[in-house]
Amino acid sequence: MTTSTAPRAARIGAFAPALLLLAVFFAGPLIWAVYSAFTDVALTGSAEVNFIGVDNFTTMWNDAQFWNSLWLTLIFVVGSAVIGQNTLGLLIALLLRGRSQSARGLVSGLVIAAWTVPEVVAGFCWYSYLHRDGTLNGILGWVGLDQNWLYTTPMLAVILANVWRGTAFSMLVYQAALNDVPPELHEAAAVDGASAWQRLRRVTLPLIRRSIVSNLMLITLQTLAAFGLIYVMTKGGPGNKSSTTPIYMYQESFQFYKLGYGTAMALVLLVIGAIFSLIYVRLIKVDNL
């Protein structure tokens, strides 16, 4: 596509700052993580570090709480990212097309506001919103549905909060993608007598397929790592009802001092992230990648 005039060395040199940062502050800890996942390194309680082979992984295999956390993580990712943010973001983007400036401004303004709020503050908002004497119950109280949502349905609570916080990203991606869909296609399809639903399914969606895939990839991977929002809202509780793997890992590492075990769990999460990543990268089939 292009003819290169830059010397190879300079091209590689341009990567240097990024590479250096990534190697020292990203790959370094990762390699250390691979090592310490096979040790019993502890935050406190023992000064020595022993190599213990795959013990951490066999413990994990037999740890019902770990499996529970993995299951909750899956629910969280599918519920809040794949279904929630993605669908709602697409829906809002579709509904907002061609609306008046004020309608667009108001709706996307609010959606984006939720996104710009720092996650700790988002946690406070939802903590008070869903609290027993909170705003939601103030409304639902009229129909007798009031309860402490953080306590009775903690997973639903954190999923909704994450949908609220993350939808803006998907919405922006889809607004951009829809802008690029040529109107003529719709007109042609409409002339052919296609219903609105058919036009959406046969014309619009295929055209923005790549945006959908890359959006799904990014939000899945970001949701997989979500920590702050859940930590602020429920700390994984009550019991372990909302203890997703990142929360469980934090607890094991920093509260029960099992850095080695926590790191082993981190490795498993990394592998899951890698698998997701690879699937999506394959799906995109970016030709210049």
Binding site: I12, F15, F169, H186, R210, P246, Y250, I284
Partner: protein, 296 residues
């Protein structure tokens, strides 16, 4: 239905797309669409409600009981060096420093990725994509241990470098996509004039990339402004903590009791990023979005 279409005519910014499912134009469907939009707007607004109201209610607690007494006492109570000013200044230094380093390194790395095809670049890009998926909590344990080994804990510059490294994968990915949208023909002209790659990057691409650079900067800044876990683990001294950490501490200590003050604190802490975002949308028009960033 045929896919053999001429390249679409240039889409004007305000061109009105034609209707599909969601755009019937009139009648009950139109009403339904607006109804859904109103519900969405309300649903997105409600979680903010008590935070905003409580901030101007003296003595507000977690319970949403409006007293109809309003004052700015909560703001006055938290507007002091220890609660607001120092933490927010720390946040500015940390997020600003991180965003600057990230934009610098990402721009340099994105240029060859966007302009040249190479095995190395391909590999690098796969690595970048892969890294965006790494749960940050997962690397925090090893990062912490590594930092304590090299005595880098409690150092703000070291924290900034880690944050920059963790923001880089996504920043490079965004930046590369932005650069892809800058036509290569412009550079080819420069190359025939004998300009080197760095010069063409600086003279031709960067000016066209201002929106892209700003988006990456703001995106990194906003993300790190809200990042509480990384400084929570890596910084120890109370006086170097950013607002994200001090507000969490405030919440866990006084959340139930002094929710009004917490709300005031939260609003003051959130304000800078909202202003930043709004200012940027103004400058780049309503079209500002992650458009170029994630088209894939």
């Amino acid at each position: 239905m045929t896919q053999t279409l001429a390249p679409p005519p240039p889409v004007k910014a305000k061109s009105r797309p034609t209707a599909d499912l969601t755009m019937p134009g009139r009648g009950p469907m139109r009403f339904a669409v607006y109804l859904v939009l109103v519900i969405v707007a309300i649903a997105f607004f409600l979680p903010f409600l008590w935070l905003v109201v409580a901030s101007i209610q003296p003595g507000a607690a977690l319970s949403a009981d409006i007293t109809w007494q309003f004052s700015f006492k909560n703001f006055a109570d938290v507007l002091n060096v220890d609660t607001i000013f120092r933490p927010v200044l720390n946040s500015l230094i940390i997020s600003g420093g991180t965003a600057l380093i990230t934009v610098f390194a990402a721009t340099l790395a994105a240029y060859p990725l966007s302009r040249y095809r190479s095995r190395f670049g391909r590999l690098f890009l796969y690595g970048i994509l892969f890294s965006t998926g790494l749960p940050i909590t997962a690397v925090m344990v090893p990062v912490y241990t590594m930092y304590s080994q090299f005595e880098l804990t409690d150092s703000v510059p070291a924290l900034i470098l880690f944050m920059a490294a963790s923001s880089l994968p996504f920043a490079i990915w965004m930046m590369k996509n932005f650069m892809d949208s800058v036509p290569v023909e412009l550079e080819e002209a420069a190359w025939t004039d004998g300009a080197g790659w760095f010069q063409s990057l600086r003279r031709i691409i960067l000016p066209l990339m201002i929106p892209g650079l700003t988006v990456v900067f703001v995106f990194t800044f906003v993300t790190q402004w809200g990042n509480f876990f990384v400084p929570f683990i890596l910084l120890q001294s109370p006086e170097s903590q950013p607002a994200s950490v001090t507000i969490y501490t405030f919440f866990s200590t006084y959340g139930q009791v002094a929710y009004g003050q917490l709300a005031a604190f939260a609003i003051l802490y959130t304000l800078p990023v909202v202003l930043l975002y709004t200012a940027m949308s103004r400058v780049f028009g309503g079209a500002f979005s992650l458009t170029g960033a994630v088209k894939g």
